[in-house]
Amino acid sequence: MKIKRPLAPDFINKWDARLLITKPSAWSTRAHLVLYYAGAFALLITAIGFLLPNDPRNDGNVFLWLSLLSVLSVIGIIIWIIYLLRFNVFKRFGVQKSGDGLKSFGLYFSAVALMTAIPFLPPAIESIRANMAYSNDEIVRDYNTISADIVKLEYDSIVHRWDRSTYQLHISDTVYNESEVISVSDSGGGFYYVSDTSSFRNKITTADSLKKINDTTYVIYDCPEYIFLHSYNLDTYSKLDQIISRDIYDNIIRNFQRPDREKVAAELKGLIDKYSLMVEKSNYYYGFENEDSYKGRVTSRYNLATVAHSLDNISQQKDRWKGNNWVLFLRFFYYITLVLSILVFIFRHTTVRVFFLSMLTAVLLAILTSLILASSGTDGLATFPLLFIYYGLFAVLAITGSTRKNRSAVGGIALNLFIFFTPYIFLLAVGWYYVVLHNKPYETVPENAFDNEGLHFVLAEIAGSVLFIILVEPVFKKLYRKWYSQPEE
């Protein structure tokens, strides 16, 4: 067999030819070609990502790449559907082996997943390069050193006065709920505000210094501002902590000893140079310092706006996938892949006309539902039962449609929408349950009712996908088999 494809090595052509004559269901998904071409493209993008000059201190152009690759991925998926998914065992009434439907869906999912993953490569490569260039501890250590060195050098010009505030506590006449309510007045500033006990306790716990005059009067002292470099959350994933003004006071100011200015200045210059961008001065307005103020002058003197900007860029690029961020990325990636895979699965089992009519129906139903909800004056709570009614209706029409005398568009549309919404049905149920709980009076809801809300949503997501996989062969394929082979008129 001479199957020539651009940029395809011989083994791909041989693999393609072999699949064609041994596994037509797998061959007709063309997932092997998508995996090869998309895989090769992903490698190319990875190579470019690692070879192109990259400076984590810069803002980077990752979103430009993301946009470009998203467009290319969409084009890739369209080309796959239009030019490669032309052979169809099901629509040609070929031999359908048990498990073929599930295997085909798995291949669609893999192909879509790879194409969906490509736009995520530049941000991932950027993170890898940022982590390779700077360690978590390094940037915190540098931040701390810069902050300390500035104070050492500017010791004489800094105003070392502690701000003092007196707090007078009053038990309020009005009792809200069951919590203790107190009034707190700041006699120094002359302003007045109301706080609750926990806020006040938090205030005294985090105060730089506190003096208790009596049971109702406290004096709180605020350490002078010794931090001139404003960059936050650098220490989230570091063993070290970013120093604060109080740390500087304790370690440097309290028992201040004149430093070797030249040595400190040289160390500071080295670090500032390390985080300075190529441009002379950052174009970004960073921090809120007035350039004419003392802090503004210090910031300007040491080019701290640029350093802070660089540190933030580095930490943002390094930590993009850390913590809960990767879960968000994973959900985004998973749902795009799932939705597109199901659409491809539907497209492969229905007529082109009914496929597009199904999309149109979904849009019209969304508009109609919004209109019903808006005109009836009901809140979002009513959306959920309405969606369940739609789902039930789709299921009934899909099942009855497959037993009709001829192939009806309505039956096909219902079947497509029934299949499309199945993975989300548990998610809707859990969402409905929690929306009902949130709308109940506070006192009627058990104290621990929301403890496992996040877990329940995750379980609903997993259960929906599992349900879809379970139903592919025994239900969806059988319904499509009956519906598609019905007489057209």
């Binding site: 067999m1 001479k2 199957i3 064609l20 004559i21 041994t22 596994k23 037509p24 061959w27 007709s28 030019y83 032309r86 052979f87 065992v89 040609r92 009434f93 070929g94 031999v95 359908q96 005398k405 001829n406 088999r481 009956k482 598609y484 082979s485 019905q486 007489p487 057209e488 008129e489």
Partner: protein
């Protein structure tokens, strides 16, 4: 000739090489011997190569030597086994009325068995395609039922697999012709080396080898029809339904396809039933076991039945003579003469066809064409 080996030897002897090659391919497939089939495919390829390189119908000595070798091989392994025909389709009083428009297909019953060819003829818009689409399961029946005899409690998907329908306007296919053939074979459960061999066989059998690497836009409509037949045959249906398969073919291709359809239907390896509609009445009648004439949705005439015994003899004559002169020779009281677009259709209960043409020729009427259509559906047009 009942013995296909003798039959092929006769074709070779009379230099009917094309038919000999095609029949040898059929025989090799029927014999079920892989080596014989490969040998014959190679031999066929050599013949087609030679056919292109020479203008006259000559073959090389090696071709004839190879033919003899293959025939000897076939003779050693081939056993003539009479295949018992089985009923494939029993159609009982099916009727169809479209929801839009006022056309109705009136109740029609028919039976088709393996190895049998049924022709459906009639003027345009009289229900041929409707009948074929009903049989193929593409249209829902208003009345009657169809019994697919070889299927046990089939669902509609099984029925669509059981019957292959080739419409007059062949749907566009994509990719290379060869890929499509491999795909058709593999979705019918023919895998691996057998798949390759069957595709090679079909390319040779329908003389499509030179077009194997071409796509839809690169081949003519006639070859598209041939390709579609090849594709469908590889899917191994039990019943093949063709709607106007001759419409896009030249006269030679028509003859070839009809002959091939006949051989395919009667194949010992996998005999199948064939139902085809066509406007080429004489061509269809030559190969069909039964012909149905449909007019305004009703089956008016069926060959090979007691009801189809003709009342009166009918001939078709092409001549420059006038109607009056014909009537003068045959006698106005004995015949009816109709002028039918270049032909005279002469009906008589008094004379046999031979007598009618004899009288005309004896009176020196110049006849350029003559056909006895007494038992042909042509008399209804």
């Amino acid at each position: 000739m009942n013995n296909p080996i003798t039959e092929i030897a006769s074709y070779l002897k009379h230099q009917d090489y094309s038919l000999a090659v095609r029949r040898m391919l059929d025989l090799s497939l029927d014999a079920g011997d892989v080596n014989l089939l490969n040998e014959t495919i190679g031999w066929s390829r050599e013949y087609h190569r030679n056919e292109k390189s020479t203008d006259n119908n000559t073959v090389s000595t090696s071709f004839l030597e190879q033919a003899e070798k293959i025939l000897n091989h076939a003779n050693a392994i081939y056993k003539i086994e009479a295949t018992k025909p089985v009923e494939l389709l029993n159609v009982s009083s099916i009727a169809k009325t479209y929801s839009r428009g006022n056309f109705s297909l009136k109740p029609i019953s028919l039976q088709v068995g393996s190895g049998e060819i049924m022709g459906i003829v009639g003027e345009n818009g009289n229900g041929k395609t409707t009948l074929l689409r009903c049989l193929a399961g593409q249209l829902a029946l208003d009345k009657g039922y169809i019994d697919y005899r070889l299927l046990q409690r089939p669902d509609r998907y099984d029925v669509r697999k059981y019957i292959a329908f080739i419409p007059q306007r062949i749907p566009r296919w994509y990719g290379k012709l060869r890929d499509n053939l491999h795909f058709s074979a593999s979705i019918a459960g023919v895998y691996g080396e057998e798949n390759k061999q069957m595709v090679d066989f079909m390319l040779e059998r329908l003389n499509l080898y030179d077009f194997a690497e071409l796509s839809w836009t690169q081949i003519s409509s006639g070859y598209r029809t041939r390709f579609e037949i090849a594709r469908i045959l590889l899917q191994k249906p039990k019943l093949l339904i063709l709607d106007e398969p001759l419409a896009n073919l030249d006269i030679n291709a028509q003859q070839t396809i009809l002959t091939d359809l006949r051989f395919i239907a009667k194949s010992a390896h996998s005999p199948m039933g064939i139902i085809l509609s066509s406007q080429q009445l004489h061509e269809v009648e030559k190969i069909a076991d039964t012909v149905l004439f449909i007019k305004q949705g009703d089956c008016l005439f069926r060959t090979n039945t007691t009801s189809s015994i003709a009342i009166g003899n009918v001939i078709e004559v092409e001549t420059l003579a006038t109607r009056e002169s014909i009537l003068a020779i045959l006698g106005e009281e004995s015949v009816q003469v109709q002028y039918n677009g270049g032909f005279y259709t002469i009906t008589s209960t008094a004379y046999s066809p031979r007598q009618m043409i004899g009288k005309l020729l004896s009176q020196e009427i110049a006849v350029s064409y003559f056909r006895d259509i007494t038992h042909s559906t042509k008399r209804f047009f």
